[in-house]
């Protein structure tokens, strides 16, 4: 509770006690000056204690030409009730005070609940490190602000501490809790040479880490910035309600005015009928209290915020409420193969010569892999990494020059003075090299040296453990079709598609083709349907930004992915895709429930009020009660799944 809230609570308690005393007192006229208009002075004093800020805001609003906000509604309703009691000489000022008192209790509750959930959501994302330990020359260490560390410094991370800045372990072994980053509860073992991401918690051993990034560029800063920015993107529902509230409030004010004036005027025209002024004014005041739009205005952004927080807790970063909303309408999921459904870790399964027969000569095999690995040494593509691994030795970069990467074809380079081309069949055609078509399933890397075919390497990709399960889960979450896009050959693509149960597959696509394909698919879908593209974010940035929703996987490390994607899955488990869709559906359901609940109850009470059936107490429920229900409902979206 902050100071503002504490002050408010004191005012509420004081006013409530005073109101109770005044209500229970058999005769207020025993008090000094209590005889004036049946104790008006006492009631007014209590009224001012509880409502002075509302009056002030309403008057300031009028001065700044901003009438018709909730403060204005409350001022008119309560002062109206006072005026009516004076006019009727009933001395029933309690209603006016109660309306103000309950309105303030509602506001207090709202601010408390919203503050609470704001803190809850922030604590889900509580990964901001408070300090870093820098090692000094004499071996002792000093606590500094993570901002002041810089790159290339050695920092000490002790058990229980957060890794403050991204870096590489220089010394030590430990397990890291990366739950806050990836949602993965299983600890990650690290040793010297391993990369550690800021925001993970060191659990067992002391680590000496050489920093590789500034704090501002580190994972933790990027995630926090993303989450903070996400709240500023408005959903359509929220924008709609804001527009709605802007029209709605003046409309109900005029409606209340009409209710107060028209029926009595009509009755005055009919001879013999009592205009019943006070009764109709009372109904108009009830009308005003009921109509306050706060329940809607606060609960919708709160639901989305809670939904985004809940998703963040699961390792799913959603960039905005608009994205969360669009995610619930996803009917088509397009998946990239490599890195998304498969691990993107390839193993050399065979090496063939020009007759598509297995190479037998060990020396020749070694040569083939060496050429491929050297040519690909500058590429970060999973295939090239696998080739480096198969090569097994350290790449001597001085042997390689003139590396040219031809997107969708492969690589040409000069190795030990020889012209080497490494890539697919299209590259061989382009280079005019006679090659043979390989009949094995897998990714085929053809190698040519000085214009002569040297043979090809067959690489097999390993599927992710949850890939098949993830596709079933997508269908269960209401996705109509799943489509796989890949640059790989048709045979590899269709085998993976068949094993995993993907609906359709497009293979042998160049990076630019993927964009065209996604555009085609977007053009054919229904108006309210959305298409999501899931990729590992390394080569897919254009596709990620072109799709309705771009989902980058395991992309915390890649800047391009965070830029281009709308949703970032912090680990690379494909099951998270369906989880994200389910969270968005749940959030949207809660939003709809709140709109229906608030508008429904208010609508019904407004009709009852106009007919004269509702009293002030029902009006208070329709205002404050509905708001409390809506806020409690909104907080539900914090709990994912």
């Amino acid at each position: 509770m902050n100071d503002k809230q504490k002050k408010m609570l004191i005012r509420i308690v004081v006013a409530a006690v005073a109101t109770a005393v005044l209500a229970l007192l058999p005769d207020v006229s025993v008090l000094p000056l209590g005889g004036v208009c049946k104790g008006l002075l006492y009631f007014l004093a209590v009224y001012l204690i509880i409502g002075y800020d509302i009056l002030r805001k309403a008057l300031l609003g009028m001065r700044n030409k901003r009438v018709f906000d909730e403060n204005f509604l409350m001022m008119v309703a309560t002062l109206g009730a006072f005026a009516l009691a004076l006019y009727e000489k009933s001395g029933d000022y309690l209603e006016a005070i109660s309306v103000m008192l309950f309105y303030q209790i509602g506001e207090f509750f709202q601010s408390y609940a919203v503050g609470r959930s704001r803190r809850n959501i922030s604590s889900l994302m509580d990964i901001r490190p408070d300090y870093a330990n820098i090692e000094k020359e004499d071996g002792t260490f000093e606590r500094v602000d993570p901002d002041d560390v810089g790159t290339g410094r050695i920092i000490i991370v002790q058990p229980g501490e957060k890794v403050p800045v991204d870096g590489i372990v220089a010394e030590g072994e430990s397990s890291l809790n990366t739950a806050a980053l990836t949602g993965e509860s299983f600890p990650r073992e690290v040793k010297a040479g391993d990369e550690v991401l800021s925001g993970s918690i060191n659990m067992t051993g002391v680590l000496r880490v050489r920093t590789t990034k500034d704090f501002g560029e580190s994972t933790v800063s990027k995630i926090l910035e993303l989450v903070e920015d996400s709240a500023s993107h408005k959903s359509h529902s929220e924008a709609f309600i804001t527009r709605f509230a802007r029209i709605y409030t003046p409309v109900v004010c005029y409606a209340a005015m009409a209710l107060a004036l028209l029926p009595p005027l009509v009755r005055m025209l009919i001879p013999g009928m009592d205009p019943m002024w006070s009764q109709w004014i009372y109904r108009a005041l009830i009308f005003l209290v009921i109509s306050c739009p706060c329940a809607l205005v606060v609960s919708i952004p709160l639901s989305f915020f809670a939904g985004i927080g809940g998703a963040g807790h699961e390792g799913i970063l959603v960039k905005g409420a608009d994205i969360l909303e669009a995610l619930s309408k996803v009917k088509t999921v397009v998946l990239d193969k490599t890195g998304t459904l498969t691990l993107g870790v390839f193993e050399v399964t065979a090496m063939h010569d020009i007759n598509d027969a297995d190479k037998t000569d060990e020396e020749e095999k070694r040569m083939l892999v060496e050429l491929a690995a050297l040519a690909e040494c500058a590429s970060s593509h999973p295939i090239s990494k696998s080739l480096q691994r198969a090569y097994g030795c350290k790449v001597d970069h001085s042997r390689v020059s003139d590396i040219k990467e031809l997107g969708g074809f492969g690589i040409t380079a000069r190795i030990d003075g020889r012209e080497v081309a490494v890539g697919n069949e299209k590259l061989m055609q382009r280079m005019g090299v006679e090659y043979c078509h390989c009949h094995s399933t897998g990714t085929i890397v053809h190698v040519a040296c000085d214009g002569r075919y040297a043979g090809h390497i067959v690489l097999g990709d390993i599927m992710k453990p949850h890939a098949a399960e993830a596709l079933t889960a997508l269908r269960e979450a209401g996705v109509k079709q799943t489509i796989m896009l890949t640059g790989d050959s048709r045979s590899v693509a269709s085998e993976v598609a068949r094993t995993l149960g993907v609906d359709r597959v497009y293979s042998e696509l160049l990076p630019a083709d993927k964009v065209t394909k996604v555009e085609e698919l977007i053009a054919t879908q229904g108006k309210t349907e959305k298409l999501a593209f899931v990729g590992d974010g390394i080569n897919d940035a254009p596709v990620l930004s072109r799709a309705d929703i771009g989902i980058a996987m395991g992309g915390v490390g890649s800047d391009a992915a965070i830029e281009a994607a709308d949703v970032v899955l912090m680990d690379d488990d494909p099951l998270k895709i369906s989880k994200a869709i389910r969270i968005s559906r749940k959030t949207l359901r809660i939003v709809r429930e709140n709109i229906i609940l608030a508008l429904g109850i208010k609508g019904a009470c407004l009709v009852l009020g106009a007919l004269g059936i509702a009293n002030m107490w029902l009006a208070i429920f329709a205002d404050v009660g509905v708001m409390i229900l809506a806020v409690l409902n909104a907080i539900r979206s914090l709990r994912a799944s």
Partner: protein
């Protein structure tokens, strides 16, 4: 230049109104007022004086929402 300020604003609706109004302040290129995180992001025009622009921003914001304040 972009800066983020912690703010205190009491209702979601007022935050929207404040945002609309301070976007019109001279020297402010773009602004975001977020009720949920209680943060305000202001992007200044090239060469604008931060201190004087922020004074005006606060004055305009207070006009819309008298309880608006910037937390230090």
């Amino acid at each position: 230049m972009k800066k983020t300020y912690g703010i205190e604003v009491d209702c979601a609706n007022c935050a929207d109104l404040v945002e609309t109004e301070i976007k019109k302040v001279a020297g402010v290129k773009d602004a975001r007022v977020v009720f949920m995180t209680q943060k305000m992001k202001v992007e200044f025009e090239e060469g604008a004086d931060e201190v004087s622009v922020m004074e005006e921003v606060l004055r305009i914001a207070r006009k819309v929402e008298p309880d608006f304040c910037i937390v230090k």
